[in-house]
């Protein structure tokens, strides 16, 4: 059994980590948070040139063709660095959606551009509060024209194209919309994590292309989200590890009552519990990585397990990281809240944990 990443894959991960330490220190994250820019374009360009995020896109579509295991480890480093990149939208979701159900022409046109970062794509599904279900979607496509309003759309200000869920012929479908067309209106929506910007997109009779079979939107979306959930889980464990490390380092350096606070059992046990949730999440994420890389029949169960465990671990670690820092953790200047915010964003972005808990138990029932 080799239920682990190979030495080559770990070496790649080290390279990616060093790259982010150099190219995306926390000052870069904070600069985007304080600006109205849609994304960190210079970092996106550098990452794209290095091809890190194109790891799982096949060579014939301009990707690196390395594989999903490599992309998982890249995602872990994106999460650790809190990198302000549209990776969740453009790579984990949009590229996967194209690979799953795009026509050859759509793949040939768009995948190379997503792989080299020239274009950014996003997913526009939700419209209102609550879990996304067909009856909560009002957007419609009639005669090839899309009308409707989507929010939140992650990276919707930066994106060049969006895959939009809308009712069309045969039921709920997915439609490719180019966002430079007339009839598209975009506006910023304040995000809990301002390093990952959110938008509202309004479509008024915008010409769109069908993606995949008519009426297959829900099935394709669900299959894509399983794949994205594994990748997001790696961002989450990267972030959780960073938050745990911050808390540990602070507990060693902060003195109270004549000794480092990390010497008090109340703090030690809190940190031990953070470590436990991180390791449980990591092991679940590894299983997800295996299922994603081998396209295993257990992917739905593995993805839901990875997502539920990683969402819990990152929130737990980010929350307690603030607590270990005491009052300083509640200041804007300390970075604790950046993880707290990112953890919330990553828990929401593919549908929140309760939805994934149901998917998990349903998938367990199918294999049990």
């Amino acid at each position: 059994m080799q239920f682990d990443f190979s030495d080559d894959q770990k070496a790649l991960q080290s390279d990616v980590r060093r790259f982010f330490e150099r190219a995306s220190p926390i000052s870069v994250v904070r600069a985007l948070i304080d600006s109205d820019a849609s994304h960190e374009a210079s970092l996106w360009k550098q990452v794209s040139e290095l091809g890190f995020l194109a790891a799982a896109i096949p060579v014939e579509y301009g990707g690196a063709g390395a594989g999903y295991l490599e992309l998982c480890l890249v995602a872990e480093e994106v999460g650790r660095a809190l990198a302000p990149l549209p990776a969740v939208s453009s790579i984990y979701q949009a590229a996967e959606l194209l690979l799953l159900s795009g026509s050859v022409a759509q793949k040939e046109r768009w995948l190379p551009r997503l792989a080299n970062g020239e274009s950014i794509a996003t997913i526009a599904v939700a419209e209102t509060v609550g879990e996304v279900t067909p009856d909560r979607i009002a957007a419609k496509v009639t005669d090839g024209k899309l009308t409707g309003t989507k929010r939140p759309v992650s990276d919707g200000l930066a994106a060049d194209l969006a895959f939009v869920a809308a009712h069309g012929e045969g039921g709920l479908g997915l439609f490719l919309a180019e966002l430079s067309l007339d009839g598209v209106q975009r506006s910023a929506v304040k995000s809990v994590d301002p390093s990952r910007k959110q938008a509202e997109l309004r479509f008024n009779a915008v010409a769109v292309e069908q993606l995949g079979a008519a009426g297959a939107g829900q099935a394709v979306l669900s299959a894509m989200r399983d794949r994205a959930a594994v990748l997001v889980a790696f961002e989450q464990i990267g972030g959780a590890h960073a938050a745990l490390t911050m808390a540990r380092d602070y507990a060693l350096g902060r003195y109270a009552f004549g000794k480092p606070i990390g010497g008090f059992q109340a703090i030690k046990h809190m940190l031990a519990d953070m470590y436990v949730s991180l390791e449980l999440a990591r092991s679940n994420a590894y299983y997800g990585a295996w299922a994603l890389a081998t396209d295993a029949s257990q992917l739905s169960l593995a993805a839901a397990s990875a997502r539920v465990a990683a969402s819990d671990a990152y929130r737990h670690c980010a929350t307690n990281n603030i607590h270990v820092h005491g009052g300083m953790g509640f200041t804007w200047d300390f970075d604790c809240h950046l993880h707290y915010r990112r953890a919330r964003y990553l828990s929401s972005v593919l549908g929140a944990p309760p939805e994934w808990e149901r998917k998990l138990i349903a998938a367990y029932g199918r294999v049990a």
């Binding site: 080799q2 239920f3 010497g263 059992q265 030690k268 092991s283 590894y286």
Partner: protein
């Protein structure tokens, strides 16, 4: 990343499986599957069945897989031990009477006993002749193990032991015991300890089963009244007992690659039986248990993978009992909640799942205490994995007989 055996591992696995299929006591299979905690058999004497299985394995070269041949072992690799355990499956429950011997006492004897003693004692353990017990905990010394009070006083070539041990598994069945004693109460507590092994049939030993909170009597109290032990059965130097004990305790926590059984499958089956899978509150709880169960499972797989590469598994292994203990406890409460008012009954004629969660309700508090409490395990993770400072120990350099205790506080 894969779950496949190497060719050598596959070859070992198929040989192990074939031997087990041809030799295991299949007449006990059903009963073993039903056994909840410990080795419970009704059709036959469990200790005799356990010794017979161990002897059979020994004769065929499948016993003490990790030990050197001269001590009765098979000199196999750690990953082969894991593969064997996997293949042994439900029959591994027959090993429970030997768990303390192989897990703790054997490794301590191997490290600290004289060569002739090792050649005498260890093959007897490997071949299922001798059961060992561990005489460490005392009524006033649990997590604070170095606070033990059982006295050993030198008398020529012998030591005379007086005191009391508690929570001793298998004391009634054991041929040998590993005993930690206080030989000098006038110096600091960790320095005044000495380790021995002794014949459990020695005069002056009295064993009293403890009636546990779950009505079973797996654990014992062991009383020592002028019990004489030859000095030749001392392990390590006089005053070196703490160092010797650390060998034992390190082995106790090193059940590498062993997946803690959490019985999520049983909980899911119960929810199906009761028709509550559609309830959203039930689903949410189930999912939270599921990711802990799978997390533990794949954490064990990570450790097995490290063993397969010939490496030491990482510290993530230390989370197993900590997670499983409270999880089993919470699952049993949840399972009985699902039964409504019937959850208050200890019925016997019910499904195996419903019986299991009744057994775990009453047994699980002990899981979080035995072999290191949840708090001790959190300290270990915090100190050894995360590098946080140890607790300040106010009694560290105080002569043992001057350390405050409940008795001195009452004065």
């Amino acid at each position: 990343m894969n779950f496949d055996d190497t060719p050598a591992e596959a070859e070992f696995r198929s040989r192990a499986a074939a031997w087990i299929a041809a030799n295991a006591p299949f007449e006990l299979e059903k009963e073993l599957e039903r056994a909840n905690f410990g080795l419970q058999l009704h059709s036959t004497d469990p200790v005799a069945a356990s010794k017979a299985w161990q002897k059979k394995k020994y004769d065929a070269g499948w016993a003490a897989l990790r030990w050197p041949k001269e001590y009765g072992g098979a000199e196999r690799s750690p990953i082969e031990q894991v593969i064997w355990s996997h293949e042994e499956g439900v029959f591994s429950k027959l090993n429970i009477p030997f768990a303390i011997g192989f897990g703790m006492c054997g490794p301590t004897v191997m490290k600290w006993a004289r060569e002739d003693q090792k050649r005498q004692l260890l093959p007897r353990l490997a071949s299922g002749q001798d059961i060992w017990c561990q005489l460490f905990s005392e009524p006033a010394a649990g997590s604070d193990l170095a606070g033990i009070r059982t006295r050993a006083e030198r008398d020529g070539d012998e030591w005379v032991v007086n005191g009391q041990k508690i929570w001793t598994s298998g004391a009634r069945d054991a041929e040998w015991g590993l005993l930690i004693t206080r030989t000098d109460p006038t110096i600091a507590k960790h320095r005044g300890l000495t380790m021995f092994f002794l014949d459990m049939k020695s005069p002056g030993i009295e064993i009293r089963p403890i009636r546990q909170a779950n009505e079973e009597s797996h654990f014992n109290e062991v009383y020592f009244t002028d019990v004489r032990i030859p000095d030749a059965q001392r392990l390590g130097e006089v005053g070196q007992g703490w160092t010797v004990a650390l060998t034992t305790l390190m082995n106790e926590r090193m059940s590498i690659g062993a997946e803690m059984p959490t019985s999520f499958a049983e909980l899911y089956a119960l929810c199906r039986e009761l028709g509550v899978i559609g309830d959203s509150a039930v689903v949410s709880r189930l999912a939270k248990f599921a990711v802990k169960a799978s997390g533990l499972r794949y954490t064990a797989f990570r450790a097995i993978s490290a063993l397969s590469r010939g490496e030491q598994p990482g510290p993530e292994n230390s989370i197993g009992k900590l997670v499983a203990g409270s999880m089993i406890q919470e699952m049993s409460q949840f399972a009985l909640d699902l039964e409504g008012e019937a959850g208050m009954l200890l019925e016997t004629e019910i499904s195996p799942e419903r019986a299991w969660f009744r057994a775990t309700l009453l047994r699980s508090p002990a899981i979080r205490i035995e072999g290191g409490t949840d708090e001790v395990l959190r300290n270990i993770i915090a100190e050894r994995v995360l590098g946080l400072p140890p607790e300040a120990r106010v009694d560290k350099d105080v002569p043992f007989n001057q350390i405050p205790s409940a008795a001195t506080a009452a004065r």
